[in-house]
Symmetry: C2
Subunit: 192 residues, 2 copies
Amino acid sequence: MTTRSSMMEKTRSELLAQARVLFASKGFAGTALEELTADVGLTRGALYHHFGNKKGLFYAVVQQLDSEMDLRLRDIERSETSPQQALLKRAETYLDMATEPEIQRIILRDAQSVLEPEQLKKAASGCVASITQLLSVIAPQQSSQAHKTSAQFINGGLTSLALWIANHQVPDQAVDDAKRTAYELLNRIMPA
Amino acid sequence: MTTRSSMMEKTRSELLAQARVLFASKGFAGTALEELTADVGLTRGALYHHFGNKKGLFYAVVQQLDSEMDLRLRDIERSETSPQQALLKRAETYLDMATEPEIQRIILRDAQSVLEPEQLKKAASGCVASITQLLSVIAPQQSSQAHKTSAQFINGGLTSLALWIANHQVPDQAVDDAKRTAYELLNRIMPA
DNA sequence: TAATTGACATACAGTGTGTATGTCAATTAT
DNA sequence: ATAATTGACATACACACTGTATGTCAATTA
């Protein structure tokens, strides 16, 4: 509303946007904050004021990406009829997202080593929780703990396929292959 | 044999050993090569002579860890009767290894971001290849490509459970839980 | 015994993070 | 309306670390 806070909001979002670009293209370690801030016409002072330090900025980027992913995945699910179909469609969408460089580098590669386990758990909790929720509807006879652990396994398997796609020579073909396999395996995992 | 080369072998292995310790406890980025070399009574000159640069040292550590893991896993498999049992036992052993700090930090967290995809693929190929091999015996009717992709999914799922264990408050309980889930899911995935 | 190689040390340059301090405009208070 | 104050951001500095270029000396070889 006021001029002051709107300017602040603007610089913050500009820094975040450029961070996404550089973290995605050069990785966390390869990104120099001097270059990052200069790209948007600022100095590192602004960055440290808003995000505390380099990891703070990275964490903010991860949270933004993650919430965007969760939004897209939830959106997909809502249009499906059965929880089984929802899980399958979710897997497919997840694998599609894995072809995006931002997701590959930031979420799938760097986040594990940069973030503290606690932060990581918080960031990834959305995805795992959604899968857990679906499983509890699909197999209500099992314990809630079993659902959580299974969701962890499934999420990890999908992530692994995503990375496999990312590093593949012919991504499009790999995506098809991964989707087929995910479909097959998930169908076996889910109780009929 | 000669005094010269044996001394060289000794320094190389000492550097590698200390690298394992520090990379495991402080992570890749948090490890200073000056401290590392001083710990074994050398300077960074020796390190750069033997390993080229920091990533070269890290890659050597990863290869060593990976070959040790592969050795242990192969050893386990050989004592099993059926390929199905072998896969289950392999999963169990893999989850046990996930409790070791060296594996957690170096293989499960830092390797993804530090190593180039090409190096990573080479390093992890042992594990995935072994699972692929087992699947081809278990389900000979499927294509070899399907086996590879499935192996990727399974390996990723197990790795995810491993990390979940690593970050858990009560690791022992988490190990039991993860093993039960892995057992259950793998049994469903494997054709009867 | 002289020549040479090479394992490792030393010295230096460059880059990058983080922090302490400064500045000036926007807000708030009188 | 003007003075006081906050805070968003810039500037400057200290420190740590990597990588490289060069030096040295013992072990090998001729």
